[in-house]
Amino acid sequence: MIKIDNLSKSYGKKKVLDNLMCLIKTNSIYGFVGANGTGKSTLLRIINDIFKADSGNIEIDEENVNNNQELKQKLVFVPDDLYFFPNYTLKDMAIFYKSMYKNFDMEYLEKLATTLKLDMNSKIQNFSKGMKRQCAIICAICTNADYMFFDETFDGIDPVIRNLLKKIIAKQMDKKETTIIMTSHNLRELEDICDNLALLYKGGILFESDVNTLKTNMFKIQISLKEEFDKETFSNLDMLNFKKSGSVATIILKGEREKAEEQLKKMNPIILDFLPVTLEEMFIYEMEVLGYEFNQVF
């Protein structure tokens, strides 16, 4: 478990993280989303003891991360801006990782490289941007670290490989009870893989939720009644958003779907359709409740 307590960090006069609090449960995939410059990368760097926080505390498995070499064996970080030693091949890099991480699995790396069609003996500097990221990700996975951090995880990777990598990451999580922490400025990139999502804004977490709870507790309906109706008609429901166009209204509701459906059916609707809600929409509506506009945050 990662416990982040009142974490603050400034670059000169610019405050990037401001008393940030967060709890990341073990064996989950946790996503940080937010616009550029909201402190996602800084947060990951502080967790990985690359940067020092100005104040606050981070504990991983109840141990302080600061200058803790043994604890860092449990962490692996793939940054946004990748670095490989000059003239190194994937094999050379894997050897380096193996020399650093006690549990590095070379066989699995070779297998993954074959799956992703990455030549182990070619110089990484000659690879495309996406291939370089694949190299970094599979090296990180093969460390078998307990906590894996991926910054802008799938940046530059085509959709097919992206899905493949998501499966590999998910498999790793199942296999080793790994905790994966990802960041992205694109919510859609993380929605089908993360268990938890947190939205970073102005140095803090604006909104955090379990994706499954969000998905099961929020639904969108289109409804039309015989009589005239307005927002007040549905005041007994936990409504996040109401829009009426002509005689048809689109409503976002929270709570148990069966219970809401039962209540709506009692109104004898002419039309009652349940529609899928994207994660982005869920975020938009949740933020509206908090008084923010989505465009303001992203």
Binding site: F51, K52, N67, E70, K72, Q73, L75, F77, Y83
Partner: protein, 657 residues
């Protein structure tokens, strides 16, 4: 305690591996240049030369400023790039481990460089019979260079902990290495100037001496000393300073590296205040120099203009951006503050250093003769110090007398031609040297006084008894060194101090240098070859033997090897003879060739009149050998014939007996 907390073997290996090409280049460049420069000194003839320190050390000295900083960059350069900072610092290594592992890697590589250079020098000295390097000198070079490289490396590492770019690291390294000694030496200039122009002004208790060198001020760290006065001699104090500072820098580096703001990468410093402070420090040497030069009016305005431009340039190069108003304000403020510091410091140091060495402060003196300092500057390291008041008073008073009454006399008898170096040890345990010119009469008196001090006489005699290389010109006399040394020792044992001094000043003979390496210095005692018949016979036969074996080869090598000059009879100065043949110089003479060919196996009789034909052994003027001969009549005939031919413009090569 787990050592892996401090040193990570795998990271060490990988760090070397990732830059193996560059590291290999840095490791081999010094040994390679050293071996090449030694090989270039190997001559095609068979004679042996002693190599001096500068002939072996120069590549090492130049690389001293480059290699340690380059190694620091190779090992720690990752901190200057954001992507590599993320990569390396995310690895399961804490910062202390990274710093110590990289430092150990640097120490390992520097040691490797110096060991290779040491081996190269030893091998060259052992394998090549035509060069000789004093083994202790090679060891001294190794220690001196090794410590200096490590010192610069640790300073560069400390500079890295504050820097966000390589350029700022270089600026900070220079400041760490040079700022303090520079300020110190610049303030001391005032002191040296005072003494330079002050004559010995009275006989009272506050007598001061000209050309005083404070020996303790010569012990800067080697990297600074080379720049300041070109000195690279081994100095225990310099070694101690560098070792102590190196260790302090290492600890400071470890501490600050753990505190380092890694987000600083690609920026000059973590914040503007540090940038401003470092920039101000770079201005400090300029302000000191400006104050020393003492500019006026328009010149000052011009220089201030240059400093403002420098400030812009510094910002542009280091930060890649210029803030005009901020720069102008900061430069003016900085200059004002620094001016205050410099003026204040000048006052404090000058007042303190303006003291005169009073005679009553001098507790002991050491006396060395000029001839003892062959190939070395005056240095009273490990000299014999005398506390005899009579000798001390005599030296002070005769020095004063010589200075004021005789130095500029045109009267030959009263002209001060005897230079002695006098070391002064004051009650504060400080040591200074002065050079004193004495007239012959005073010198004789001084020698008589010194003769009474048996320990001093023994000390002087001992210096002639060192295991030495016997050198004539630049060439080592191989084979007979032990016997020549023993002959000289025997003779010295029977000589008075005055006789010993006189032989070094004999102006009518060929001199040998008894060269030895002692107290980290190359020293030589000058001895005339006609010191006694035994020495003369040994040297003459040794030289004739060499010519006998090598003359054919020498003739083939180049034209210069066939030029000769005739030295007057070494075993007796005959003025008439000298007038006849002295300074005779002959090129490509077939008569002389023939004479040498016919007489090269001659064993000379030291009791008979003797000529020495100087034969140049190489294109270098100081590389020559002698053929000694008792056949003075034949030489006289050759010279007469050549002189006749010269007046008739005949070619010497066509001359016949």
């Amino acid at each position: 305690m787990s050592l892996t907390k401090y040193f990570n073997k795998n990271y060490f290996k990988e760090n070397i591996k990732k830059s193996k090409g560059l590291i290999a280049l840095l490791v081999i460049i010094v040994p390679l240049i050293t071996i090449l420069s030694i090989l270039l000194l190997i001559n095609p003839q068979n004679y042996t030369k002693v190599l001096y320190e500068n002939e072996i050390i120069w590549a090492n000295l130049i690389c001293m400023y480059i290699i340690p900083v380059a190694l620091s960059f190779i090992l720690f350069g990752y901190v200057y790039k954001k992507s590599s900072v993320d990569f390396i610092n995310s690895m399961p290594l804490n910062r202390k481990t990274i710093f110590i592992t990289n430092t150990v890697a640097g120490i390992f590589l520097i040691t490797l460089i110096q060991i290779l250079t040491l081996i190269v020098a030893f091998l060259c000295s052992t394998i090549c019979s035509t060069i000789y390097i004093f083994p202790q000198m090679i060891i001294d070079i190794f220690i001196n260079m090794w410590i200096s490289y490590l010192f610069i490396f640790s300073a560069a590492n400390l500079a890295m902990t504050f820097s966000g770019t390589f350029l700022t690291q270089i600026v900070l390294t220079m400041l760490i290495l040079f700022l303090v000694p520079f300020a110190e030496s610049m303030f001391k200039i005032t002191q040296i100037r005072i003494f330079d122009y002050e004559m010995i002004n009275n006989l009272g208790d506050d007598t001061t001496y000209e050309r005083i060198i404070d020996l303790q001020n010569q012990n800067y760290t080697l990297p600074y000393n080379i720049i300041w006065n070109g000195g690279y001699a081994f100095s225990n104090i310099s070694i101690l300073k560098m070792t102590t500072l190196g260790i302090i820098y290492l600890f400071l580096g470890t501490y600050f590296f753990q505190k380092r703001k890694m987000e600083n990468a690609e920026e000059s410093f973590s914040n503007d205040k540090v940038h401003l402070f470092v920039k101000a420090l770079t201005l400090f040497p300029m302000m000191v120099v400006l104050n020393k030069i003492g500019l006026e009016g328009e010149e000052t305005a011009f220089v201030i203009g240059l400093i403002v431009i420098y400030y812009f340039a510094y910002d542009f190069v280091v930060k890649r951006k210029i803030k005009f108003i901020k720069s102008v304000v900061s430069v003016i403020l900085t200059m004002a503050i620094l001016q205050g510091i410099v003026v204040g410091a000048n006052k404090i140091f000058t007042e303190e250093e303006r003291h005169k060495i009073k005679r009553t402060d001098v507790e002991k003196i050491a006396i060395e003769f000029e001839s003892d300092n062959y190939h070395t500057s005056p240095n009273l390291k490990n000299s014999y110090f005398i506390d005899n008041k009579e000798i001390m008073n005599f030296v002070f008073e005769s020095a004063y007398g010589a200075q004021n009454q005789y130095t500029y006399s045109i009267d030959k008898e009263n002209y001060a031609t005897n230079t002695i170096y006098v070391g002064l040890q004051t009650s504060k345990e400080k040591k200074y040297t002065i050079s004193v010119e004495l007239i012959d009469r005073d010198m004789d008196k001084l020698l008589e006084l010194l003769e009474k001090d048996k320990n001093y006489v023994e000390f002087i005699k001992e210096t002639y008894k060192k295991d030495s290389k016997i050198i004539l010109g630049q060439i080592v006399l191989i084979g007979d060194e032990k016997q020549i040394n023993s002959e000289i020792e025997k003779e010295i044992d029977n000589m008075s101090l005055k006789d010993i001094y006189k032989i070094t000043r004999k102006s009518t003979s060929i001199f040998l240098n008894k060269m030895y390496y002692q107290n980290h210095m190359l020293k030589a005692k000058v001895v005339p070859i006609d010191m006694n018949n035994g020495v003369f016979k040994l040297v003459a036969d040794n030289q004739n033997d060499y010519i006998n074996k090598n003359f054919d080869k020498m003739k083939d090598e180049n034209v210069r090897t066939r030029s000769y000059s005739i030295e007057y009879g070494p075993l007796g100065y005959d003025e008439e003879e000298f007038k006849k043949f002295g300074n005779y110089f002959s090129y490509t003479s077939n008569l002389m060739d023939k004479f040498i060919d016919e007489n090269k196996s001659e064993k000379i009789d030291p009791n008979e009149e003797c000529y020495a034909i100087k034969i140049y052994a190489s294109p270098y003027i100081d590389e020559y050998v002698y053929l000694f001969t008792n056949k003075t009549e034949e030489i006289g005939n050759i010279i007469r014939k050549e002189r006749d031919a010269k007046t008739k413009n005949e070619d010497f090569l066509t001359l016949k007996d």
